[in-house]
Point group: C2
Chain length 223, copies 2
């Protein structure tokens, strides 16, 4: 990766494996990240605490943005809905939160304008879990075009760039990269449920399990 | 305007002249709007109350979404900054809130997905106050493209459409349209300050004054 002159960046940090690996990747490449964490009414607060712990571990500035959406429409928000055990290929699961990542990236764009930051790091991945439309490269390109037309920085000749270093990696490649970068895997939280231990049966637990297994690495959360 | 089969819509409602006229325009054209109101830390709450009053007057469903942005960067958010008295041509004023309308439209997109609504009405206007990059037609087209790539409804062959009926109108044309549609002008609030009466000196007060004057109509707020 080319090292840039202006090394400030924003990292969308959920405290999960992908976003934490993205954060460590940015640090490794000489960026000085501001972590952006969202409290948007998710089912459990455990991931917010994980994200804060990780930002503190690296001594990084972070912001927690609170959004109160008065509607649900996703099993990640609505405790009355069941989190699915299986997701069929080409199906968009009920854990999809309508337009969530678009909202997150828009808020990151606001922060980027205020703090004069060009780069937004986004841990999206289109390989192993392509059910989410907002995790595809095609969407990211389109989002970049839109913000550069709709912001002051864009029309004044500046630029906001969304960097998604994991976009084409498999989950096992992400696990290997995380280990190489020294990500504190024991601090990350991927499970859609917020118990003491990962539930092991939700789609993201299964995907994480598969990734660690294929990488030949033990998940410290399961020890 | 062509009358559509699915007549539900979402209207971004700030309680100002433009968004209220947009709301009445939607109703006049047979739409059943859900009003979307934002409490995002603006300088005063008066516009939120105006918006709620207008939604109630029409007996419409509304949502107030609260967003806590832990940064400022705009004289509309930061009481320590001065609201400008003049805005030069081609200048983006300090009242520009970084990426605000992108965030609002993204949240409207989430509501559109959850409530299965195709149309988002947006009172943007590029003629009289083109300092804001997110009030231009070019931005709106680009935003539509992005959401139709990044949402479930978009990739499943549906569509979210942003309708901006005032986009090419002058302020005096908007005032005339408002009168024709029966907009309760005395309920609308445009002033960037939140006093008992409009301040008369902020850019939006001046623009409103000019619009009413050119339309030959008395502004009930100034009586």
């Amino acid at each position: 990766m080319q090292v840039m002159k202006d090394k400030k960046c924003i990292v969308l940090l959920s405290g999960g494996l992908d976003s934490t690996t993205t954060l460590y990747y940015a640090v490794k490449n000489g960026y000085k990240p501001i972590c952006l964490i969202f409290d948007y009414g998710q089912r459990h607060k455990k991931e917010i605490n994980s994200a804060i712990k990780i930002a503190n571990l690296l001594g990084l500035k972070y912001f927690v943005v609170k959004i109160s959406l008065p509607w649900k429409g996703s099993s990640l928000l609505d405790k009355k809905m069941r989190i699915p055990r299986y997701v069929r290929k080409r199906q968009i699961p009920s854990t999809y939160v309508p337009a969530r990542n678009i909202i997150f990236l828009s808020i990151a764009t606001s922060l980027a304008e205020v703090y004069k930051v060009q780069y937004i790091f986004y841990g999206a991945n289109q390989v192993d879990f392509s059910g989410y439309p907002d995790c595809r490269k095609e969407f990211i390109k389109s989002f970049e075009k839109m913000i550069n037309k709709g912001t002051k920085v864009g029309v004044k000749g500046g630029k906001v760039t969304v960097v998604a270093p994991l976009i084409n990696m498999t989950k096992s490649e992400i696990v290997k990269l995380a280990v190489k970068l020294g990500v504190p895997l024991e601090y990350t939280w991927s499970c859609y449920r917020g118990g003491r231990k990962p539930c092991g049966i939700c789609p993201t637990c299964k995907l994480r399990y598969k990734g660690f297994k294929e990488a030949g690495i033990n998940d410290p959360l399961l020890v």
